[in-house]
């Protein structure tokens, strides 16, 4: 399946993300999920970004709301707009999971 996963928190209370598999996986970081794209906790990338084979996206509005800019975003992650997220949902992936 082609699955777009939304993450909206810095600290997760589920482990579904670690277990779910998809042939094509998109991970869209929104709200407080955007911190995974910019923080280096203990000098390291967020473990969220180590999911093999996934494509990572971060919502630019939610980054800027929190005082961060595209320049600070991890190179694994693509900065996107609301319109881009619509295209990801409607064209690139078949289903979504807000974890």
């Amino acid at each position: 399946m082609k699955l777009a996963v939304f993450l909206s928190d810095l600290r997760r209370t589920e482990d579904t993300y670690d277990r779910l598999k998809a042939d094509k996986l998109g991970v869209i970081l929104v709200e407080n999920g955007v911190y995974h794209a910019v923080l280096k906790e203990g000098g390291k990338d967020s473990p969220i970004l180590s999911k093999a084979g996934a494509n990572f996206y971060v919502l630019s509005d939610d980054l800027e709301t929190r005082g961060f800019t595209a320049a600070q975003v991890n190179s694994k992650v693509k900065v996107v707009s609301y319109g881009d997220i619509v295209d990801l949902i409607m064209n690139d992936y078949e289903k979504t999971a807000w974890l």
């Binding site: 939304f6 939610d62 609301y82 949902i89 409607m90």
Partner: protein, 119 residues
């Protein structure tokens, strides 16, 4: 162009999730998609007329009416609203109340569903 249905559950005054949902709906409408929105659980707060606008809180009633004007179907969970003391007469114009089967039936007719659950 496709049919996109969003189910919005955990949102509240002062939370970013409702803002996110309305901005995403707006972007989907702008691209020509058909958009349905189901507000349930705490997100039924949108069903209350007379919310006072403070700069400290996002105030979405105007945005909601704009999106309804652009053709978005927006329905709130009737039981969830009643439990919170939001009655029929509190519901802003253009917004419907229904039971949960409305949402499930909409998912049947949708190309994509984004169900925003969580806490």
């Amino acid at each position: 162009m496709g049919v996109f249905t969003m189910g919005v559950f955990p949102s509240l005054v002062g939370s970013g999730t409702l803002d996110f949902s309305f901005k995403l709906a707006e972007a989907a409408l702008a691209k020509g998609h058909t958009v349905n929105m189901w507000l349930s659980g705490n997100a039924v707060m949108m069903a209350k007329k007379g919310q006072r606008a403070f700069k400290d809180y996002s105030h979405l009633e105007k945005k909601m009416m704009e999106l309804v004007g652009k053709g978005m179907a927006i329905t709130v969970c009737e039981a969830c609203a009643e439990a919170r003391g939001y009655h029929k007469e509190d519901t802003p114009e253009g917004m419907k109340r229904a039971s949960m089967d409305w949402y499930l039936a909409k998912t049947f007719k949708s190309d994509r569903v984004l169900h925003i659950g969580g806490e």
